[in-house]
Symmetry: C2
Subunit: 415 residues, 2 copies
């Protein structure tokens, strides 16, 4: 039995005019795919009744068994979604007393006594139903036509995601016979995409066509995603993963959902080690990546963003003569920063960056993109030089990701 | 004359399966809209020849005068775009000697002697033409059918954007009679969306319907975007902006493209002031936002991420008794951190955050989301308390944005 097909209609002129970047498409696409739906298409449409009407009609007459729309459920004249779905499905929208009561209670909780347009949000379909919005006003409206399900979700991502998790996902799991695909992700760091590709070339050549392999490169490393239809033999799938794992072992930082920073924190915690960060060109980005992880306070002592030379000297103990003779962007400075922050913050491990993010400040000897990354552990201190291409923000991102990668590799060595 | 309509087809199963978030749609939507195209639709499609063929046919028979596709131009069996466009347009793809020579020269420059599939990238349409790819291998293929233009662009955003700026945008500007819409953005900070909405309510009620107003709220503040068709009277448009500007004056940080951090750096530079940042819960995010701006080194001395109490004491001179009696998340700590980093880094202005980002660490008195933000200038030192809702990352983002907002407001006061 093939996976049931789904179709998304993302509605809003702010999306087609490029004023807002859609977040609902990627969210719903990933969720639907993991559940076992096959997403046939995502259509992004302006607030234009003719275009919306025809896209809705087409979806209705397509093979899609699930049609989700997002957006256009507000109270302004641009918000056409509910009216159009009702028109196309030959239904009527009328004020639901229970919905109105719920909305008025919500307003009271927020200390709002009256909202002139609140009845607009209490319109419910006669032949369809609705899901309450746990974090906003607009409910989701849905119709089960037996051959297909249509659901109109509000556009704000927080509202859409809340309705999804609380109501829609459980409803769909119950309503459809879904078989989730077999999926597995292996995340590597410290190896380039081309080297990795060489390393697994013969494995990849022998991979059964029923297993789909995708490379997802990022600055932190290359993730490999394997995916197969639920019909294939599970043992075949997991045997292939085992072979792949053996080939890539030294580079794998996780096979789950965690980020590189999360894995670093986990490793530090397991080993009872603390971390301190000294950043020049990355300007706080490394520390910020670590702090994003819940529980970072267990292992992170803190960091110093030593942008000015005086800060490098005063807070990190970099020797002024080194800055004069070798420059701020040098191996010695990176070493002294890493060692200096380790000592100043009483941490076990120090990591440091110093480089030229651009657009100015480069020279023939040290072009824009030159970055030294230093690592100091209780055992050893060393630094590596990189030259990253790309604009200022890309150089900063690549330096940040590479520092995390080196840190992860250093923690491996310390075992 | 109405704006010519455009249509985008974004191709790739990684997009419909939610493994990759599309960046080409938002980029092209904004670019086309600014040029004076009207984007009728964005369709995101899997690597499925039947679905692609029918979407291409529909686009071809729609009102769209410009059809752009992205993705599917690589050398794997999943890459169907070029073949399908050629089939539908009744054209043939043959190896172009000039293209092949160019590609081989590109490979030599990169130190690659041979690529088995390079001829795949040298396929050019017989009735169409191609644009060279300045940063990758796959050229863009295009056809001018007189009534419409079709262009197939490669999927990697860096390649697509490079071809857009170097080749496609100039070509379209020459090929179509475009009238860009009148557009203006006013960015505010330090005022909530609802207060702002009240403040401009009577102005908004009198806004001619030909001028479209959009609120774009972010954690840093609310941006207002005004847009009108090129047909309307310019004076009418700019008169409305002048009235709006007068209403919002104290809150406007820019009417251009700059970020709040950029405007802060500009203000600091104009006044000859330097900045130092002390972060606890924001963990480097404020400093990182400032460092992202080119030229930050002129005004940023650096920062201290004082995550552990020992770091707050050692590097920022926070009094240990204060941490014991009032706690790390307190007004006194925020004040001492802001003043401490200002002194330690010899800067004119200090900004500090200390708070509970969660998910753990909250209490009845100091719930998760409690953040104190301190500001120290040569004239005054003060701190404000906030309680931000949302998960850990959202609390961090909101605290970062609010600190930048307070910093901007403080710089206004210092004039």
């Amino acid at each position: 039995m093939p996976a049931p097909e789904a179709c998304l209609l993302l509605i809003g002129s702010e999306l087609t005019e490029g004023r807002l970047t859609d977040k609902n498409g990627p969210f719903l696409a990933a969720q639907l795919s993991q559940m076992g739906f096959q997403l046939g298409e995502i259509r992004i449409l302006p607030d234009d009744s003719a275009k919306l009407r025809s896209a809705m009609q087409e979806a209705l007459h397509s093979r899609a068994e699930l049609i989700l729309s997002s957006g256009g459920l507000g109270h302004t004249r641009d918000d056409l979604t509910a009216t159009l779905w009702a028109e196309i499905l030959e239904d009527k929208l009328t004020v639901s007393e229970s919905l109105l009561n719920h909305l008025q209670a919500t307003l009271r909780e927020r200390g709002i006594s009256k909202l002139p347009y609140i009845e607009r949000y209490a319109l419910a379909p006669t032949r369809g139903k609705f899901f309450l919005n746990p974090v906003g006003l607009a409910p989701a409206l849905y119709w089960d036509l037996h051959t297909k399900v249509i659901c109109a979700l509000p556009g704000p991502p927080a509202e859409l995601q809340s309705i999804w998790h609380v109501h829609l996902k459980p409803y769909l799991q119950n309503r459809f016979s879904l078989k989730p695909p077999l999926e597995h992700t292996i995340k590597t760091t410290g190896i380039t995409e081309s080297r990795l590709s060489e390393l697994i070339a013969s494995w990849e050549a022998n991979l059964p066509v029923s297993i789909h392999l995708a490379y997802n490169p990022s600055w932190e490393g290359v993730s490999l995603h394997l995916r197969a239809s639920p019909e294939i033999d599970r043992e075949l799938f997991f045997n292939q993963i085992e072979k792949l794992r053996a080939l890539l072992k030294p580079y794998i930082y996780t096979e789950g959902a965690g980020s590189l920073a999360e894995c670093i924190i986990k490793k530090l915690r397991e080993r009872g080690l603390t971390l301190a960060v000294a950043e020049s060109c990355t300007g706080g980005h490394i520390t910020a990546s670590v702090v994003n992880v819940a529980g970072a306070s267990d292992v992170l002592k803190g960091g110093v963003v030593a942008y000015a030379n005086s800060t490098k000297i005063d807070l990190l103990g970099v020797v002024p003569e080194v800055l004069q003779t070798e420059g701020a962007v040098s191996e010695s400075t990176a070493l002294q920063m890493a060692e200096g922050v380790r000592k100043a913050l009483h941490a076990h491990v120090g990591v440091a960056t110093t480089g030229i993010a651009g657009p100015t400040g480069g020279s023939a000897e040290k072009p824009v993109g030159t970055v030294w990354i230093g690592i100091a552990t209780p055992i050893e201190t060393y630094a590596k030089r990189f030259v990253f291409s790309g604009g200022r923000e890309v150089v900063i991102q690549r330096a940040t990701a590479t520092a995390l990668s080196l840190l992860w590799q250093a923690l491996g060595k310390n075992s």
